[in-house]
């Protein structure tokens, strides 16, 4: 988070800016794929770690933000 923000928020913004008209759940799946691919070396980690989003939806329809 120190240099450019958190993996989740920065990847989310990147993916949504590129595809604002697509279904949000599909985009979040892509965000999660990208976040899971990254190796993270946190401030108190001695070896790379992984992160994974948790997406909980009770949406009843497609949700496209634009």
């Amino acid at each position: 988070r120190d240099e450019k923000g958190s993996d989740f928020i920065q990847t989310l913004v990147e993916v949504l800016r590129a595809n604002p008209g697509r279904d949000l759940l599909e985009l979040l799946t892509e965000v999660n794929r990208r976040v899971c691919e990254q190796d993270v070396l946190g401030p108190d980690c001695d070896e790379p770690r992984k992160a994974c989003l948790e997406i909980c939806s009770s949406l009843r329809r497609r949700l496209c933000l634009q």
């Binding site: 988070r1 923000g5 800016r17 993270v40 992984k50 992160a51 994974c52 997406i55 329809r61």
Partner: protein, 206 residues
Amino acid sequence: VEPWRPEPAPGPSTQYDLSKTKAALLLAVIQGRPGAQHDVEALGGLCQALGFETTVRTNPTAQAFQEELAQFREQLDTCGGPVSCALVALMAHGGPQGQLLGTDGQEVQPQALMQELSRCQVLRGHPKIFLLQACRGGKRDAGVGPTALPWYRRWLPAPPSVPSHADVLQIYAEAQDSSGRGPPSGSSHQADILTVYAATEGYVAY
């Protein structure tokens, strides 16, 4: 059993109508979270680009988290106009049980904050999006695959799976639900909610 058929092309009935007001609330603890300002700027810019009326509050205390959510709900309920969608981003350090920590070090449960919007009258039937950038515990994921762990550590047995506090609560809630009450009328308070956590339960968010 009917054979599976491809879904019809998205239409008015299969997609939320977002033509009315969209509102976003970003609550972020920046103090003691280096780089967090980048998230606030990036997310705020995105929300505005997507047409959300965006409110940003930084460095809330635990109580201010609750108050800001309550105020946000009140504003939506009293604005008089239709609202299509609400987005709430909660960014802070997280406690071991998934609590959010305000700038005063006090804890607030994200579920309590999310329930606030479930009570919002104008958002009934409309999507409510929650983004949570916070740790949900102290566990760290070493990953899987050939480069994740040395071979000798891959064969260590996994710790036994014990029901979590959430599991116990769920079983209790299900027992309550099946205790003879009739079906509820109207739509569910729990419908139309999308929650995205930066980490799975119990794990660190980076």
